[in-house]
C-alpha cells in the first residue's frame, strides 16, 4: 500500500496543459506542410514524381463532398456504380488554365518527407503545426498562398447536443493498428480525453457517433455500416488517418474501399499516417466548438 502511494507520488501530474498551452513536439515532427510555390521553377515536377502515394498534383484538383447516402445499408440495393465512377464524383478534376502549381492532398499524404527532401528550391516545408483536421475533403488540399482553414464546429443543432458531451464508438476497419493506438492513447493520463467530456464507449447504442480508422476493408464494410446504423441519430462521423479518408498507402487495392468517404457522411477528417494524437484531439475539440 505504502509503495503504491509512493509510486503515485513520484509520478506526479502528467496531464498536458493543452489547450491552454501548446505541447512541445519533436523538432523532426512532420505536421501541416506549407508550400511556397513562388520559388517553383516552370515545369518542375520533382515533388509530384517523387511522392510515393501520388498526393501531389499539378492540376487544380478540388474534391467536393458527395451527398451522403440516405441510409448506409440501402447502398447495396441501389444501382451499383463502378469504383472509378464513384471516385470521379468524389474527386472531380477541374483544370484551371494558367500556371500549374503543386497541391498536396493531405487525405493522401503520408507525411513521409520525400517531397521536402527532393525539392531543390525549398518550396515544401513540413511545419510543427499539428492542427491538420478539416471538415470538408477539399479543405485538406494545401494550395499555394492560401492558409489552411481549420475545422469549424458542427452546425447549431448537433453542436448544442454534443458540445459538452460526446460518446464515440471506435471502429477499426482494416487499419494497421497505428491509428488505433493513437486514438487509444487519448484515454491516457497525458491527453486525458474524458476531461473534455469526450468518451469512448463500448456499445454503438451508447454512442453519439463513430470514429473510423482504416481504409474500410471489404471484410469490415458490413460490420462498419451496421455499427453506424446502430448509433441513434443525430450522430457524427469522424475519419482518422489517411486510410479512412482515401485508403492511405493501400489506395486502389481491390480488397478495400478507399476510405469511408463514399459510404458515410463524414463530419471530421483527421489526416496523417497515423495522425498525432494532438491532431485528433484538436480536431475533435474544434468540431464541438470548444476551441
Amino acid at each position: 500500500m505504502f509503495n503504491i502511494i509512493k509510486a503515485r507520488w513520484f509520478q506526479g501530474k502528467v496531464t498536458s496543459a493543452y489547450p491552454a498551452k501548446d505541447p512541445v513536439l519533436s523538432d523532426r515532427y512532420r505536421g501541416l506542410p506549407v508550400l511556397d510555390t513562388s520559388k517553383c521553377p516552370p515545369d518542375c515536377r520533382i515533388c509530384q514524381n517523387i511522392c510515393p502515394n501520388q498526393a501531389i498534383s499539378f492540376l487544380t484538383h478540388v474534391p467536393t463532398a458527395t451527398e451522403p447516402p440516405s441510409s448506409a445499408l440501402s447502398k447495396g440495393k441501389k444501382k451499383k456504380k463502378s469504383k472509378e465512377k464513384r471516385a470521379a464524383e468524389v474527386h472531380p478534376k477541374v483544370e484551371i488554365p494558367g500556371v500549374l502549381k503543386p497541391h498536396i492532398d493531405l487525405g493522401k499524404c503520408l507525411f513521409c518527407n520525400e517531397c521536402q527532401n527532393a525539392c531543390p528550391c525549398g518550396c515544401i516545408h513540413y511545419t510543427q503545426n499539428f492542427r491538420v483536421a478539416a471538415r470538408k475533403p477539399q479543405d485538406l488540399v494545401v494550395t499555394d498562398g492560401t492558409s489552411f482553414s481549420l475545422a469549424e464546429s458542427l452546425e447549431k443543432g448537433r453542436k448544442k447536443l454534443f458540445h459538452r458531451s460526446l460518446k464515440l464508438r471506435v471502429v477499426s476497419a482494416g487499419d494497421c493498428n497505428a491509428c488505433n493506438v493513437e486514438v487509444n492513447v487519448l484515454n491516457t493520463l497525458f491527453f486525458d480525453l474524458p476531461r473534455f467530456g469526450i468518451q469512448i464507449v463500448a456499445s454503438p447504442r451508447h454512442a453519439d457517433g463513430v470514429l473510423i480508422t482504416g481504409p474500410v476493408s471489404e471484410n469490415m464494410r458490413e460490420a462498419l455500416l451496421k455499427t453506424y446504423d446502430a448509433v441513434p441519430g443525430p450522430k457524427v462521423v469522424i475519419a482518422v488517418g489517411s486510410c479512412a479518408i482515401t485508403g492511405g498507402p493501400f489506395r486502389d487495392h481491390p480488397e478495400i474501399h478507399n476510405g469511408a468517404m463514399d459510404m458515410l457522411p463524414i463530419d471530421l477528417y483527421v489526416p496523417g499516417c497515423p495522425p498525432h494524437p494532438m491532431s485528433i484531439l484538436d480536431g475533435m475539440l474544434r468540431l464541438l466548438g470548444r476551441l
Binding site: 509503495n3 503504491i4 509510486a7 503515485r8 513520484f10 509520478q11 513536439l25 519533436s26 523532426r28 515532427y29 512532420r30 517523387i50 510515393p52 502515394n53 447495396g76 451499383k80 469504383k83 503520408l110 507525411f111 513521409c112 518527407n113 471502429v171 477499426s172 476497419a173 482494416g174 487499419d175 494497421c176 493498428n177 497505428a178 491509428c179 488505433n180 493506438v181 493513437e182 486514438v183 487509444n184 492513447v185 484515454n187 491516457t188 493520463l189 497525458f190 469512448i200 463500448a202 456499445s203 476493408s217 471489404e218 471484410n219 469490415m220 464494410r221 458490413e222 460490420a223 455499427t227 492511405g248 498507402p249 493501400f250 487495392h253 481491390p254 480488397e255 478495400i256 499516417c273 498525432h276
Partner: protein
Amino acid sequence: MKPIPELKNAQAVDLEDIPVFNIEQFKQQILSHVQANCRVSVLFGIPGPNVRLYCILADDAQHLLLPFATDVGQEYPSLTPECPQVHLFEREIWEQCNVTPIGHPWLKPVRFPRKAGNTSKTKPMIGITNYFQVQGEEVHEVGVGPVHAGVIEPGHFRFQCHGENVYHLEISLGYQHRGIEKKLIGGPYPRTLLQMEAVAGDTSIGHGLAYCQILETLANLEVSARSHTIRAIALELERLANHTGDLGALAGDVAFLPTSAACGALRGDYLNISAVLCGSRLGRGLIKPGGVYFDLDAQRIQEMRKRLDKAFAGTKRTSEILFDAPSVLSRFENTGRLAASTAVEIGLVGSAARACGLKRDIRQDHPIGWFIGQNIPIALCESGDVLARARMRWLEIRNSVALIQTQLNQLPEGNITAPKITHLAGNKLVASLSEGWRGEICHVAITNSEGTFAHYKIVDPSFHNWFGLALALRGQAIFDFPLCNKSFNLSYCGFDL
C-alpha cells in the same frame, strides 16, 4: 539431388540451387528437421497452373535457414497431422493456391479474401465457416466480434463453454485483409516501404527492417555500422513502448489501476523518444533501403538518454508495485498456461515462446546488422502462464533499456545514406528475419529474371501465435479471456495482411 542450401539471415540464393523434392521427400525433410529442433519459419505456395510449395526451416542452433521446394498438383497429403505447426500455412496454401492438403483436420478459410464491390453470395463470406462445436447438456456457445468493446482491431472469437469454463476457443480472422502480398508482385514500388511500415502499424520498424534487409541483399547494398546501430535503437524503442503498454493493459484487466494509469503515460514517453529520433512516434519514415533517414548528433543522443532514464525509472517503480501486489499475482498465476511441449509443437515464437522457457530470439539465433557478434541477454521464464508473459515484458524492458544505453554510447561514425537502388538481382530467393516486439518477423522475396518480385511472403509473429492463445484458453474461465488475450497481444492486421 542437390543439397539443401544453408543460408544466413537475409542471404540470397539462386532459385535453381533450391532442391525440388517430390512430396514424400519434402514431407520427410520437414518432419526429420522438426524432430531435430528446427522450426518451420514459413511454408507457402506460388499460385499458378503448377503450384510450387516452398518451405524455409529455421535451424536456430546452427543459425541457418534451410529452403527447399516441391511441386504439387490439385492435392497432396497434409503434413499437419504429423507436424501441427504448419496447420495454418496449409490452410493458407489451400486458400491462395487452390491446392487441397488431404487429411488436414482443420481446413477452413484463413482470411476470406474478397474484392470490394463483389455482391455475389458465393463463398467465402467473411466469418461464415464451419465452426468447431462441442455438443452436450448445458454446453453453450459464446460469439464475440468482429467489433469488440474496446479500441481494438476486429476479429471473431467463438467459445465453447460449460458454465464459465471454456472447452475450446476458435479464432476466425480476416476482417483486416487489405491484399498486401498480392499487390507486391511486380514490385518493389515507390510506396512499398510505406505499406511495409503499415503491415502492422505497431511494428513499423520490425517489418520495415525485414523488407529493407531483402532489398539490401538483392541490390548488394552496404549498410553502414552507424545506420545499423540507429536501426537497432529504433527496434528496441518499439519493443519498449509496446511492452510497457502491455503491462499497463494487463494491469487494467485485473483492475490494478496505479500501473494501468502510469503505463499509459510511460508508453507515450517511449513513443516520444522515437519521435525525437525520427519525428514519428511509431518510427514511420526512419528506415530506408541502405540506411536510415535520420542521424543522431550529440545533443539528440543526450536528449534521448535523459528521456530514457526518466521513463525507465517510472517503469521500474510501476512494475515493482504490479508484481508485488497479491491481488495481481493471484489473477496472473496459473492463468492461461501453455506447456513448453505445446509451444514447441505449434511453433510459438517471440516473448510468448520465451515465457514457456523456449530460448527463441532472432537477435541471437539469426543475428543481422548491429546484433552480429553481440551477446544479447535473452530473458526467459518457465511457467508459460499470464504471469510469465507479463514478467517477460518487464525483463525485456530492462534488457532493451540496457541495449539502447550501450548503442547510444557506442554509436560508430559513418554515413547513414546509401546510393539509390537501381537494380535488383534476378532469379533469387531471400528470406529475411527480424525480431519484432512480438517475435519473429519473416519476409521472403522471390525475384524473376527482370529483378522484380515474382512472389512476396510476409509472416507476422501473430501468424504463429494466435493458435497459442486458443490453446492457452482451454480449461480457463471465460472472464479470463481479456487477460489471456492481452498477455499475448497479437496483431490482427499483421495476420490478415
